[in-house]
């Protein structure tokens, strides 16, 4: 609803009035074709009853409403209006576009939030300050919190109960699985096969890496570097059950006999080119998966795969 005309200084042009509420346009919007302007609240309410222009009955809906031209907005913002709190003694006259800023700070607003100066720490409406009693208010706060705590405790107890129920269900399921495995040995194979397929699918999504400088390999990466690579592995959708194992294999202490010392590495240098190495996305690191390297001698790889981190030279 628009601003009451009596609040304005001087004459207000008829064109700036809302035909519905007859006040000065507040947040105006206009009809699409006939361009009649209304307060947003007024026209929205009218369109809920009838999808026509209240002035000339041309058809439109709330979705068709358009912002009013800048010139209209400027004319409105220039009008001088008194404060909402004029009845409480505010004598300020401000431009319409400065009204909301003024209201936020108006000292005459009886509901202006102020801090209690007796030290209870509560924020209270200005007109309630004289009846404000810190002890009473704080008691209310304490009571509210006590209620909340007891509610939370009840919820906690319920959750605990739920967790226990689920625990026993899991136990039961595990027991079932154990029995199933005992009666059907194929199940374990099936599971392994599923996991292997998953690993293979993931490895195939990675791009083949070209290592230009095998000498740049870091055989004893530090913790931070390993954490960064691990993150990248997880982001590449690496199956969760092999992430940790792969990262263990990023350090020379877990490397296979053919790679475990500087000497052996020197010795096998020529064979490196045969590795099918996949780039760990965005990093100077590759992963050599056992499932993709059946042609490499066993002493040069490790299950499920080998992570090699380089200082440089991975493309």
């Amino acid at each position: 609803m628009g601003y009451d005309l009596v609040r304005f200084q001087g004459e207000v042009d008829e064109e700036l009035l809302c035909p519905i509420c007859s006040g000065v346009l507040e947040e105006p919007q206009q009809a699409p074709s006939c361009e009649h302007a209304f307060c947003t609240a007024c026209i929205t309410e009218w369109l809920q009853r009838q999808p026509t222009c209240p002035v000339d009955r041309s058809a439109f809906t709330a979705n068709d409403l358009k912002p009013v031209p800048r010139i209209l907005r400027n004319l409105l913002s220039r009008l001088q209006i008194n404060c909402d709190n004029a009845t409480f003694g505010c004598t300020a006259i401000v431009k319409l576009d400065a009204l909301s800023a003024h209201l936020a700070e108006c000292e005459h607003n009886p509901k202006k939030p102020v801090d209690c100066d007796s030290g209870c720490g509560l924020v209270i409406p200005k007109d309630e300050v004289k009846d404000h009693n810190c002890v009473r208010e704080l008691r209310v706060v304490v009571q509210q919190q006590a209620i909340k705590m007891s509610e939370l405790q009840t919820e906690l107890a319920q959750q605990k109960l739920l967790i226990n129920e689920q625990k026993s269900e899991i136990m039961l399921l595990k027991e079932y699985m154990r029995h199933l495995r005992m009666t059907n040995p194929r199940l374990r194979e099936l599971q392994t096969e599923l996991e292997n397929n998953e690993v293979l699918r993931w490895a195939q999504t990675l791009q083949v890496a070209r290592v230009t400088r095998w000498g740049g390999m870091i055989s004893t990466p530090d913790q931070v570097l390993q954490a960064v690579i691990k993150r990248a592995l997880i982001d590449s959708n690496c199956p969760a059950h092999i992430v940790n194992e792969l990262m263990e294999n990023a350090h020379e202490r877990r490397w296979p006999p053919g790679l475990s010392t500087l000497e052996t590495r020197q010795h096998h240098r020529r064979q490196y080119e045969n590795y099918v190495a996949k780039r760990i996305p965005g990093k100077q690191a590759v992963v050599v998966m056992m499932c993709e390297n059946p042609h490499i001698p066993p002493e040069l790889q490790v299950s499920p795969g080998l992570v090699m981190i380089f200082a440089h030279g991975v493309e």
Binding site: C21, G23, H36, P54
Partner: protein
């Protein structure tokens, strides 16, 4: 009453009072109570119609949801017109029903009613008896409307023969208004009017 309705009525009230139509004594509104929920309207009968020179009082009730819903208006002054009930004063006018638009005002409503007096819609009647007479016995309709305007609304043209027939029935002990309604309904045939009063 909602703020928006009060703001509108206050302004519209001023609008009617200031307007030129009032200066020419064509339309007028008065407050009935302080809450702006009820007003009294007045319109003059338009020239070159049977209602010329007469003044009609209207009851205007402002709903809580004004101006999103139309005001409720009815004639307090008895009138003989196809779109206005001769019994209750209820008005059949589209803008007071589904053709209401929120930008309309008391002023436009009163002017529309005045226009309705000048141009009846007998095919969309409120009072079927009047509408039938309007279409089938138009000269009688005109005289009847003029007679009613003269009796109830201060119209200046008298219809002496109709006055005499009412007096004739009045002298026989019938209520003059009931006699007038019966006579108007039966195209001023005295015997049939008497029959009508005795049967109802």
């Amino acid at each position: 009453m909602a703020n928006i309705a009060v703001q509108r009525i206050k302004r519209e009230f001023k609008e009617v009072v200031k307007s030129e139509e009032v200066a020419e004594c064509h339309i007028q509104v008065e407050l009935v109570n302080d809450s702006f929920t009820e007003l009294k309207g007045q319109i003059a009968g338009p020239p070159d119609t049977p209602y010329e020179g007469a003044t009609f009082n209207l009851e205007i009730k402002i709903p809580e949801t004004y101006p999103f819903n139309p005001p409720k208006v009815k004639f307090l002054t008895a009138i003989w017109h196809p779109n206005i009930s001769s019994v209750t004063g209820a008005i059949c006018l589209d803008i007071l029903k589904d053709q209401w638009a929120a930008a309309m005002t008391l002023r436009t409503v009163l002017l529309s009613l005045q226009a309705l007096l000048a141009a009846a819609e007998p095919d969309d009647p409120q009072d079927a008896v009047v509408a039938k007479q309007y279409k089938e016995n138009h000269p009688i309709f005109l005289k009847t409307a003029r007679h009613w305007a003269n009796i109830y609304a201060g119209g200046t043209i008298r219809e002496d023969d109709y006055d005499n027939r009412v007096i004739q029935l009045k002298n026989m002990g019938f209520d003059p208004h009931k006699a007038r309604v019966a006579l108007s309904t039966h195209n001023w045939n005295v015997e049939r009017a008497m029959e009508h009063i005795l049967n109802y």
